[in-house]
Amino acid sequence: MSLLGTLAIAGSGMSAESERLSAIASNLANANTSVAPGGQPYKAREVVFQAVPADGADDGASAGMAGVKVAAVVESPAPNPTVYDPGSSFADENGYVQMPNVNPVDEMVNMISAQQDYQANLEAFNVAKTLALRTLTI
């Protein structure tokens, strides 16, 4: 039954997008997390999506259909900025503090994109549900 496969695919999309949202939330929450000299400063995390054969592909009908999953969570390779803040308890001997490489503007844009994708998946899920229920009334 392909409509149930649709539910599985849309569900995989929602779950992947919510994982993306939680990575964004983690980045934003740690946007100002400085560390003591010598410590490893926070690196922005990014999720990598990958298309996978759908869960609902049990009857051969869903051949070629792809759900989505988070293949990996990678750390941003961007260099960590240092800020001159001699008053901070984490400042090194020259007065510089290592800051996370989180760019709040990037994160906000990413968040809007994730929100739109999540909504689109939810819409697809609801439509499939409506159609399946409608079919039951034939």
Partner: protein
């Protein structure tokens, strides 16, 4: 007579199966709207339905199609002539979408277009269910002799 009922409803069964399949294809596109390298696809509904219907017509004289109730699709493999399993037959009518902008990560899914197409497909699906319901109602009226008894009862 049973064959007549079958042919009346069989067409809608094919339409609903294909519409449901297309909904799944579009939903897979939406789920992969942010997957790097993913290329949007769509089902060529008109050609797929045409092929399925004509395949049925060719096979109709030999053996009328029935829905098989099996636990596993492989149980069908020996006697399945290829036309009964609609979505599998339709998989060859999946085509890549062209004309949409490909982003830097190689993704070609246009979310707005996908949503519009999916909404359109959903309406068409509901229309097909309505037609199927009407066909059943018509057959019921024919069997009962008149619709007055049924409408009075419901």
């Amino acid at each position: 007579m049973v064959a007549a009922i079958d042919t009346g409803l069989e067409f809608y069964r094919q339409v609903l199966a294909l519409r449901g399949y297309r909904q799944e294809v579009l939903s897979a596109d939406i789920a992969n709207a942010s997957t790097p390298g993913f290329k949007g696809v769509d089902l060529d509904f008109a050609h797929a339905l045409d092929a399925v219907v004509h395949q049925r017509d060719r096979q109709a004289p030999a053996k009328s199609q029935r829905l098989w109730l099996v636990d596993d699709p492989r149980q069908l493999a020996a006697e399945d002539t290829g036309g009964d399993h609609t979505p599998a037959a339709a998989a060859s009518f999946i085509k890549y979408q062209t004309g949409s902008e490909v982003s830097l990560d190689g993704n070609s899914v246009d979310l707005d277009q996908e949503k519009t197409t999916a909404a359109d497909n959903a309406v068409q699906y509901e229309a097909a269910t309505t037609f199927a319901t009407q066909t059943i109602r018509m057959l019921t009226i024919a069997i009962n002799g008149s619709g007055s008894q049924q409408s009075g009862g419901s």
